[in-house]
């Protein structure tokens, strides 16, 4: 009888059920989409923050001091220590390799530029542009094009295996050189493939594939420093602790948290004779920006949840309010309060489950759309979230209906049947 009552109620009042169901579906859609966006926004913004540049720097452990003013390297060539280029792919073998979005080695060398019978001392910076690197079975592309996205080239980027160079913007203006020209650098004829604009010291330099710089320096495989771009967790007091003073489990927890410090520590372990450190200008500030944006989205998610709950409550209250005459009839036929309430609650649960499932799917699509149009990447919803969302939907529907149901079961059948309410 109970099941039949509920079934008939759905069959005969399709329009009303559709209305209430639509409200629940919409509410759940918004909730799901917002939760999906909120859980993923940290990662997405973190990736956007990587456009500000690398946040970790690896240097040789026993290096002499950098002597560089205004992009001109005054350090004697060959002085100081170098890292080995062959060690670099090991960066992708560290514990947090999935958090490392790219790395770029740099090797500045001093060169002389001959032009129209004049010579000029310059810095040639050897680097990766978009180099194919493999570690184990993993293949990936890395270089300045991913770690230094603000570098702009008029012309074409040189190939990493080529002997083409980029001219810094100011240098190109001074030499009145353009892409396609040839320059004589330390006795070599090199083709200029493009003009580079970075807004900093590279504008006065030559930038070339690292192999060329190593050849000029006469040290194959040498790398002066490596910029690493990693997705990190905002720093807290725990992150700043010294790993050497930690006991086993605490150390494991520190080691397995993606703090800039612990990733630097792992990089240092991976690359022999190296010293890795966070670039504080980038690493410190991104934590602050990230925390603020995450806080903001959290607030908005709360607002979305609240608005959805309110909408569902309002729709449910309206749906029940309309059916007072029915309640009167049921009560006149001898139904107790419990029976009436349980019918309403059963209907609410059913509506919540159906609306919840449809809303979850729609919310997933919506979140994907938001991810694709704003971040050019997917926002996926873990299916684990479905029971949580359904539970929220049922709870909100119940709370929304509770007041109306309470009113309905208290109804005196006489008034309801006389149509005087």
């Amino acid at each position: 009888m109970f099941a039949r009552l509920v079934y008939e109620s759905f069959r005969r009042q399709k329009r009303r059920k559709l209305l209430a169901g639509a409200a629940i579906t919409l509410g759940v859609t918004v909730t799901t989409a917002m939760i999906a966006v909120a859980t993923d926004i940290g990662d997405k913004i973190n990736r956007e923050l990587r456009t500000i540049g690398a946040n970790l720097l690896i240097t040789p452990q026993e290096d002499t001091l950098d002597v560089e003013i205004g992009g001109i390297n005054l350090k004697p060539p060959g002085d100081g220590a170098f890292l080995n280029e062959a060690d670099l792919p090991k960066i992708k073998g560290t514990f947090w390799h999935n958090n490392i979005t790219g790395f770029t080695p740099m090797l500045p060398v001093n060169v002389t530029l001959q032009r129209n019978g004049q010579t000029e001392d310059l810095t040639l910076l050897g680097t990766y542009f978009a180099k194919q690197v493999s570690f184990g079975k993993e293949e990936f592309t890395t270089g300045v094009r991913s770690t230094h996205p603000w570098w702009k080239v008029a012309g074409v980027w040189p190939d990493d295996g080529s002997r083409d160079v980029l001219l810094g913007e100011r240098l190109a203006t001074r030499l009145s050189a353009k892409p396609g020209d040839e320059v004589r650098v330390s006795g070599r004829r090199l083709r200029v493939s493009g003009v580079l604009s970075t807004g900093s010291s590279e504008d006065d330099q030559l930038v070339a594939p690292i192999a060329l710089a190593q050849e000029i320096l006469g040290r194959p495989g040498a790398v002066r420093r490596v910029y690493v771009s990693a997705l990190t967790k905002p720093e807290d007091a725990f992150a700043r602790r010294d790993p050497r003073s930690m006991s086993g489990p605490v150390y494991d927890r520190w080691y397995c948290s993606p703090y800039a410090q612990s990733i630097a520590f792992q990089l240092q372990e991976a690359i022999p004779h190296s010293h890795a450190e966070q670039i504080r200008q980038v690493a410190q500030n991104e934590g602050a920006v990230l925390t603020r944006i995450e806080g903001l989205i959290f607030l908005i998610t709360l607002a979305a949840l609240f608005a959805s709950a309110l909408a569902v409550s309002a729709a449910m209250a309206t749906a029940i309010f309309e059916r007072r005459a029915e309640v009167g009839l049921m009560k006149a036929l001898g139904a107790g309060r419990l029976a009436v309430a349980s019918i309403f609650f059963a209907e609410a649960t059913l509506l919540a489950l159906i609306g919840g499932c449809v809303g979850f799917a729609a919310g997933g699509l919506l979140a994907r759309q938001i991810g694709r149009s704003i971040f050019n990447s997917q926002i996926t919803i873990p299916p684990v979230l479905l029971p949580v969302i359904l539970a929220i939907a049922v709870m909100v529907t119940f709370t929304g209906s509770a007041a109306a149901i309470r009113k309905a079961v208290r109804l005196d059948p006489v008034f309801a049947l006389r149509g005087e309410l």
Partner: protein
Amino acid sequence: MTENLSHSEARSAQEVAVSRALSPHSSMFLRMLVRAAVLRRGRALSALFAMVVAAAVATAMLNLYVDVQAKLRREFRNYGANIILVGKGGASLPAGALPQVESVLAGRGVVAPFALVVARTSDGQPIVVAGTDFDRVRQLDRWWSVSNWPSPVPTSRAEDAREMGHPALVGVRALSVVSPKSQPFDLNFQGHTIHLTPAGTVRTGAAEDSRIYLPLADFVAWTGVQGSTIEVAATGSPEEITAIMHQLQLAIPAADVRPVRQIMEGEARVLGKTRATLLASAVLIILTAALCVLATLMGWVFDRRRGRSPGRGRRGDWIRSRYRHRSLDWPG
């Protein structure tokens, strides 16, 4: 009251009709509205509540949307300078450049001057030494991790300073070269020697770690080299910053004004994405809030459509009250 009644009775039916026709029509409309609200207090209140909440949520969202830009811009200024002024062709900036930059900015940012030379340590190693204004750097480069900022030496103790050494801020990597035991050390620049004492260390993870920083006045007195770089962290929208750069170029023609593209582009990207996400969320939330109002109003309309006018409702009230009164006597 009786007088009034008798007066109206005295009027002819025609007069009554005329007066009714002339009386404002809105009165009936208002009466219905007020009655409806009074008689269905709960319903009206819930509709009002829904609307207030919807309006509040919508306002909060729009507010947040506008406010977030300002908040995030402030956060991004902690990344330091977004404009750099350097002397054209590597020359020093004119002496009055700093006050000029400040007057152009008019409080819309932080400015710090820098001067750089390569000096030699007592054993002949080259090292970059910079002169700057520590108070300004503290505000501009907040990410500098400094153990202790050198405090200026009062003029009365200038003699002591010469003996003890001028306080300097030493980069962590430079410290191990010049003063591994934090002892005072000498630096040499073109035959002039300065006696320094490490007052604190700076760690940034970048070029600053291999440098030594001095107060600009000590630096100029020692090397005779004037400031060559001014770093500016200007606040405002991209358009405002472009305008500031233009004004700076006009005010100081001897300087090359460059944007720090790395910071400006990153900021624009993150801000744009955050705003887009916020806008999408705001639209969703406002839609939901509108749905809430719609559901409430729809309930109200359904209710009214049944033809239960306020008048009938009133009769119902009356019957109900009578009935309820009687039901008290009934057993059970």
